[in-house]
């Protein structure tokens, strides 16, 4: 069976974008001869030339700031941040300039840049290689934030992100780079649309990126115990697809959000608040969150305790007030 990895799907998306539009340029650290540390840019320099895919000096602020200028000159830069935590030196450029230039100039200028960030953990990496930084970006108005969880979405979302008139933070779940699927690349919903990955009646699990597969596995395990769970993969954190999420929760009446990032003030909190605001009268139970703990990402030998596991999500499912009685209905789960 001809299968393709997520890294290869991303590579194909870059190739197709480079072919489709001569303004597309790819640059960053080690994206040239090496093809990126995850090989997402493999072969681009040799196939498209140094003008289209090139190594830069080792400076993230420099890479993103340079991209701002190139975008002002009419290019569509796709830049790679080598790992999540190494994008922080570029934070100033991202939040102060990339995100705001359209707003500051009343639309006279825009910078359609894609910032690719390998993110999240589960790969046994040493510190600074496993951060989940989506909430920082999602908190910054002016940035679109997307995270594929399937091989097919990796392709579609990246093509869309490159064509998007606005800057996009493109979060690539590291632990899925080498996951495989046998798919036709090209079809798929656009940025801003969530996907219903599994239909179900009893409760909705909302997840994204690396947690989407945890949600699906949980749904399969729960089915064995007679619970029929619906799984929604956000795909796009900003813009947020209220429509798909709310339709599902109104149908099921119960909702759990799963994310790998620390829970406090995270994307899951936002989802829970929106569901509460829009579906209050449909809910049989409070919206629950299953997330990483509120700790710096742990060393490899301890990461399994931190990452939301299928068991942990299943425990949460059990706390969704299935025996609806007056006195337990709104009890805060411990």
């Amino acid at each position: 069976m001809p299968t393709i990895t997520m890294a290869q799907a991303l590579n194909t998306a870059l190739r197709d974008a480079l072919t489709a539009d001569e303004n597309v340029v790819v640059f960053g650290e080690d994206v040239g001869a090496l093809g990126g540390v995850f090989r997402v840019t493999d072969g681009l320099t040799s196939d498209f030339g140094e003008d289209r895919c090139f190594d830069t000096p080792l400076a993230e602020s420099g890479i993103v700031g340079f991209a701002v200028g190139m975008a002002m000159a009419g290019f569509r830069p796709v830049v790679e941040m080598q790992f999540d935590a190494f994008a922080y030196p570029a934070f100033e450029q991202i939040v102060s300039h990339v995100a705001k230039i359209r707003n500051r100039t009343k639309g006279a200028l825009s910078v359609p840049i894609v910032i690719r960030v390998p993110f999240a953990g589960g790969i046994g990496g040493v510190e600074h290689h496993c951060d989940s930084s989506e909430a920082y970006y999602a908190q910054t108005p002016g940035l679109k934030v997307v995270a594929p969880s399937t091989v097919s979405d990796a392709y579609t979302l990246l093509r869309e992100a490159i064509d998007d008139p606005d800057p996009v933070i493109f979060l690539e779940p590291k632990r899925l780079y080498f996951s495989r699927a046998d798919v036709e690349l090209g079809a798929g919903p656009p940025i801003g649309k969530a996907a219903v990955r599994r239909q179900g009646r009893d409760a909705t699990i909302v997840a994204y990126g690396p947690s989407a597969s945890v949600a699906l596995e949980t749904a399969e395990a729960a089915a064995a115990e007679g619970r029929d769970l619906e799984v929604i993969d956000l795909r796009s954190i900003v813009p947020f697809d209220d429509e798909t999420v709310m339709a599902s929760v109104r149908k099921t009446g119960r909702c759990i959000v799963v994310q790998e990032a620390q829970g406090f003030a995270g994307v899951g909190a936002e989802v829970a608040a929106r569901v509460q605001e829009r579906c209050f009268h449909y809910l049989h139970a409070p919206v629950l969150r299953v997330s990483g703990f509120d700790i710096p990402y742990p060393p490899p030998k301890l990461e399994r305790f931190h990452l939301p596991s299928v068991d942990r999500v299943l425990d949460s499912v059990e706390r969704l007030q299935w025996n609806d009685t007056a006195d337990t209905r709104w009890a805060v789960p411990v």
Binding site: P89, G125, V126, H306, D311
Partner: protein
């Protein structure tokens, strides 16, 4: 020529890079003709240097082997950079501060840190396995160039407290492109912080060669623009490395402000075990640098001066083997990690939320052990 004369004597001009790197021994280990810019280290110090380098090399080999066996999550080898690492460690007093990167394990070993503790981070046990305060050695830094500012700050702070402590910060050639590198040099210069920035220019930042990293005549020259002392040195010449680092330490300790030293060396092994160097460099280049091996160079010199012989070599080899086997044993021993540690060190006092989360993990563990 600038319009304004500098205020006071420009001290940094005493420590300015020539157009070539400082060298004492040529690649064959013979004394070079070139004029020595700094005093040559004593014989005893050179013997000590060789011993440290030899033990460091063995440690590096052992750690590389442990990575292949899956005992370490990752290991960035410093083989080839032995002289830079050891000279860096040897120019410091125990009270001075060292700011290492992920690659500077040999330097930390020469600082007297237990090898198993030292490898705690790379073994995936905790983010820093040794006690940084006790060894005056910061945790090995992964985000590039960020530690350079810490070094400037601690050097300045110690100095303000009236102590003659200095700081040594390591970084690579790639890291010199980061904004923090430039801010660190500038801060250290402005505040006259007694800090040595030791740039190990090993030719590559992962796959990117130095020619694509910087257009400067040398990385040492970057000191000039910040008004700080600078020097370039043959990083594979142990005598030159020690001479320059000793002098740099004297210079900054004497209150002349910071110094940047560029050691020109080469990374013999891959960036880390996860890297594939065949994609970006050819074997001939590695071959050439193997011929400049710092250990061989110093050994030849010491033997010719009658400071080292077969007996000493045998004794040292035995010591290195014993040390490597202790390391193997240490790393193979079970060191169970405690998941409640996850919550213990986030704040001085865990928040109520962290206590709850800790209780959750404890309950999960209890349930697990009941099942078994």
């Amino acid at each position: 020529m600038t319009l304004m004369e500098p205020v006071g004597a420009p001290q940094y001009q005493k420590f300015l890079p020539a157009d070539h790197a400082v060298q004492y021994l040529d690649t064959a280990g013979e004394l070079t003709e070139s004029e020595a810019r700094y005093p040559r280290p004593s014989d005893d110090r050179l013997v000590e240097m060789y011993r440290n380098m030899f033990l460091g090399r063995r440690f590096d080999q052992q750690a590389t082997a442990l990575t292949k066996q899956g005992r370490l999550a990752v290991y960035p080898s410093a083989r080839g950079q032995d002289a830079c690492q050891i000279a860096g460690a040897m120019c410091l007093r125990p009270t001075d501060w060292m700011f290492p990167t992920y690659r500077d394990s040999m330097a930390l070993m020469a600082r007297g840190i237990d090898q198993v503790e030292l490898l705690g981070m790379l073994a995936g046990e905790w983010h820093c396995g040794y006690d940084p305060a006790r060894y005056r050695s910061a945790p090995q830094c992964t985000p590039l160039a960020t530690q350079l500012l810490h070094a400037a700050g601690v050097a300045y702070g110690e100095n303000r407290k009236g102590r003659d402590t200095i700081a040594l910060a390591f970084c690579g050639d790639g890291a010199t492109s980061e904004g923090d590198f430039h801010e660190a040099l500038n801060f250290a210069g402005v505040f006259k912080a007694p800090v040595i920035f030791l740039v190990q220019n090993n030719g590559f930042a992962i796959s990117v060669p130095i020619a694509k990293q910087s257009a400067a005549p040398s990385l040492a020259h970057k000191g000039v623009g910040y008004g700080i002392g600078s020097e370039q040195v043959d990083g594979n010449d142990p005598v030159a490395m020690l001479a320059v680092m000793d002098e740099a330490a004297r210079f900054v300790r004497a209150g002349n402000g910071p110094v940047i030293v560029e050691a020109q060396t080469y990374r013999i092994d891959a960036h880390t075990n996860a890297d594939d160097p065949t994609r970006y460099r050819d074997a001939g280049e590695v071959e050439k640098w193997l011929g400049r091996d710092p250990l061989a160079r110093l050994e030849k010199y010491l033997r010719e001066k009658g400071l080292f012989d077969d007996d000493a070599a045998a004794a040292l080899a035995a010591e290195a083997e014993a040390s490597a086997s202790a390391l193997r044993e240490g790393m193979n021993a079970e060191r169970p990690a405690d998941p409640t540690d996850l919550f213990r060190y986030v704040f001085a006092e865990p928040t109520p939320q962290l206590r709850e989360q800790q209780a959750q993990v404890e309950a999960e563990l209890a349930a697990e052990s009941e099942e078994h």
